[in-house]
Structure formats: C-alpha cells, structure tokens
C-alpha cells in the first residue's frame, strides 16, 4: 500500500513537472531562490505630484534637419583611421549618386543615430520613475529612460536602444546609455556611417534651450571607431497644433501597397524597389 502511494506520488510529481514544462513554466533550481527579487514599487500620489515640477516637454518635437547637416561640419566626428577610410568610401559613393543605404532594411535607426539623423518627430512621456521617448518610424521606436535611481545591469542584454538611466540636474535630464548592440550605426546621414562595434556609451544632457526649442548635448564614447569621445548637439522644435500629432510609422509598410486579392480581401502586396530602397512603378 505504501509502495503504491509512493508510486502515485512520484507519478503525480512527474505529471506536474511535465505539465509545468508544457505550460512554459520555468522550474527553477533551489539556488535561484536565494537571489533577491527587485520589484518596481507602485507609484504613490506624491510620485505623480512630483511630475508637475518637471519642465514642460509636452507636445511634438521635430528635429532641425538643417542644423543636423550643419553640425556634421562644425562638430566633425573623430573617426579613427580605419573608420575614416570606410567613411570616405561611403561619402564618395553618396556624392556619386550611389548611396549605400544604412537603414533600408528597416531595422531601427537605434542609438545614437536616432538622436543624430532622424527626420521624424518624437514625444516625451513623464511617469513616476521613468521618461519615455516615443518616435515615429521604425515601428518600435522608443527609449525607456529609468529615473528611479537604479543603475545599469551588470551585464545588460544588448539592444538597439540600449539601457538608459537618467536623473534631473535642475531642468536638465542627464541620460546615460549602455548595452547597445555593436551593429548599430554611428551615422551622419542615411548613407554614411559605420557600426559602433561594441562598448558604446552615450551620455546626454537634454534641456529646453528656449520655450519651444529642445537641446540634446550628446557625448558619444565608441572606443572601437572613434579616437576620442564625440561631442555634438541636436535641436528639436515643438508643435502643439493637434494636426501635427505623431502618426504611426511602420517602416516596412513602405515596401507594400494596398491591394485586393482574388477573394476580395484587403492585402499588402510587395512593391518593386531599387537596390537603394526607392519605390518603382508596378511594371518594374
């Protein structure tokens, strides 16, 4: 009888483990339980109230493209020798009308190129313990900047936009970003830039320079492609008219046109494009 009970119990445990595995529940070894769980505390009314004392960054912010182009000349990138040689080839190709599109695969412009060369608008959301930047295009263009006092993870999973922590120094948001994928570009245009190749670190000081002009002072530390940190600034201007609200921007949508299939369903159909990503008429 006891043997039967043990067998039943053993089978029950086995069934539970199989069920847990099927349900995708991780069965952790006992040692994992000793690591402390860090939780995000629920915000209190005072945390929401504190947001009211932050500077007003509401509205839609569009980068000043003319200034972006100007800054490449006034704040030249300190490329190292190997990087400079690659950049020179890309610049020559662009000037010859054969640009090597860095972003035509529609992967995110990423950090730091989103801040450096984008032409699309963005917006800021302030919530307790966090500043979130939402952008147009790329489909998933956003940055989460933790302002709750946490540090960077010891070994962050590399991502397109990295791991950002921030704090306020007066009306300036200071942002520190690491954990960026080595493949993300340090770009000066859509056709000129090279991968950061790892160990990228970006420090930003973001503040209102004028009531409707936002300034982002960037320090880009990329030891594998730059000889020294690259310091440059970017400026955005604000719109409040509702018609300029940011719209959805799914980069890959541009590779398709809206059609009806044989059954009358509304479907996306690929459109012909050049190697450089330009759309062509259907006959091509």
């Amino acid at each position: 009888m006891r043997l039967q009970q043990r067998t039943v119990r053993r089978n029950l445990v086995a069934c539970m483990l199989v069920a847990a595995a099927l349900m995708g529940i991780a069965v952790q070894p006992p040692s994992a339980a000793s690591a402390p769980t860090v939780t995000n505390p629920p915000p209190q009314p005072k945390d929401w109230s504190a947001l009211a004392s932050l500077p007003d960054w509401s509205g839609v912010w569009t980068p000043n493209m003319t200034d972006q182009a100007r800054r490449i000349k006034t704040d030249p990138v300190p490329w190292n020798k190997a990087a400079a040689a690659q950049i020179a080839k890309l610049e020559a190709a662009e000037q010859a009308g054969d640009p090597k599109g860095l972003f035509i695969n529609c992967l995110p412009e990423s950090m730091p190129s989103w801040m450096l060369i984008t032409h699309n608008a963005l917006e800021f959301l302030f919530t307790p313990g966090r500043v979130t930047i939402l952008g147009e295009s790329d489909g998933n263009r956003l940055r989460r900047i933790y302002t709750d006092g946490r540090g960077h993870p010891a070994d962050p999973d590399p991502t397109f936009h990295g791991h950002s922590i921030g704090h306020w120094e007066g009306d300036t948001l200071v942002v520190d970003t690491v954990g960026i994928l080595p493949e993300t570009y340090i770009a000066v245009s859509e056709a000129v830039g090279i991968p950061n190749n790892g160990d990228l670190h970006v420090i930003e000081h973001i503040r209102l320079e004028k009531p409707d002009i936002l300034r982002d002072d960037l320090e880009i530390i990329a030891p594998h492609v730059l000889t020294r940190p690259w310091k440059t600034s970017r400026f955005l201007f604000r719109q409040r008219a509702q018609k300029y609200d940011i719209v959805e921007g799914v980069c890959l949508q541009g590779n398709y046109s809206e059609r009806k299939d044989a059954a009358g369903n509304a479907v996306f159909e690929p459109v012909p494009q050049t190697e450089g990503g330009n759309t062509l008429p259907p006959s091509h």
């Binding site: 662009e94 032409h119 409707d212 201007f237 719109q239 046109s257 330009n278 008429p281």
Partner: protein
C-alpha cells in the same frame, strides 16, 4: 532616360535644390541637377511611412505607350506639417508634375511639386520652410 523621355523638357537647375528628406534611405540616388516637368494622371497615392509615394501615368508621346512613374516623398508626418493630407491626391487627378529623376534612368523620381490641372492648386513639399515651432 530612354524612349519618349528624350523629348521631355529637361531643365538644369540654376540654383542648388533643397534635398527632400527621407526617413530610412538617402535621396542621393536622385539627380537634383535635372528637373523634369510632365503631365499625367495619378494612378495611386500611397500615404505610408517611411516614404509617401505618388504614382503617375505620364501622358505618352504620340505613338508611344503610357508609362507609370513613381514619385517619392518624405513621411506622412512631415508632409502634414506642409499642409498635406492623405487626400491631397486621388487616382484620376490630372496633374502637371515637376520632379528630379533617378540617376539610373528607371521610372522613379523625387517629387518637387505638382499642379492639379482641374483647379490650378499647386502642391509642394518644402520642409525647410516648416522648421520652426508653433505652426498653426
């Protein structure tokens, strides 16, 4: 340029032309030293990111078959600041189109401006003029 396009009036721009902007690719593949002016009929207006596209069937030269060309623009968000909507063009609109062609001769170009022939309305895309806050 090929076929009937040899006869299309081509004007060398005397002044530097402000480059249109693109969200995800360069516009360097367009020849901004060449400005082409043609008449045609809109076949499709794709109001999509990252580049809006306007497809136009150009009026053929006598004896030639009609050709559709694709004009590229910046994003809907940016064009909205220039007063555009997804209804700015509709299929069937007769237009006079000004554009900068692809360098490789394929049937694509960078949109400069268009006049809707029925109304005389001119639609252009000058984002540099909208680089300021507080637009209404």
């Amino acid at each position: 340029m090929k076929g009937s396009w040899f006869r299309i009036p081509m004007v060398l721009a005397a002044l530097a032309v402000a480059l249109p902007v693109a969200a995800h690719h360069s516009f360097a593949m367009f020849d901004f030293s060449k400005t082409m002016t043609v008449k045609g009929t809109v076949t499709e207006f794709r109001w999509t990111n990252p580049h809006v596209a306007l497809l136009v069937q150009l009026d053929p030269q006598p004896g030639a078959s009609p050709e559709v060309w694709s004009m590229e623009l910046t994003s809907p968000g940016n064009l909205t600041r220039g007063g555009w909507t997804r209804h700015s063009f509709k299929p069937g609109d007769r237009i006079e189109l000004v554009f900068n062609p692809l360098r490789d001769g394929r049937h694509g170009g960078a949109f400069d401006k268009a006049t809707i022939l029925g109304t005389g309305q001119v639609i252009s895309s000058d984002l540099r003029a909208a680089e300021k806050p507080g637009l209404q």
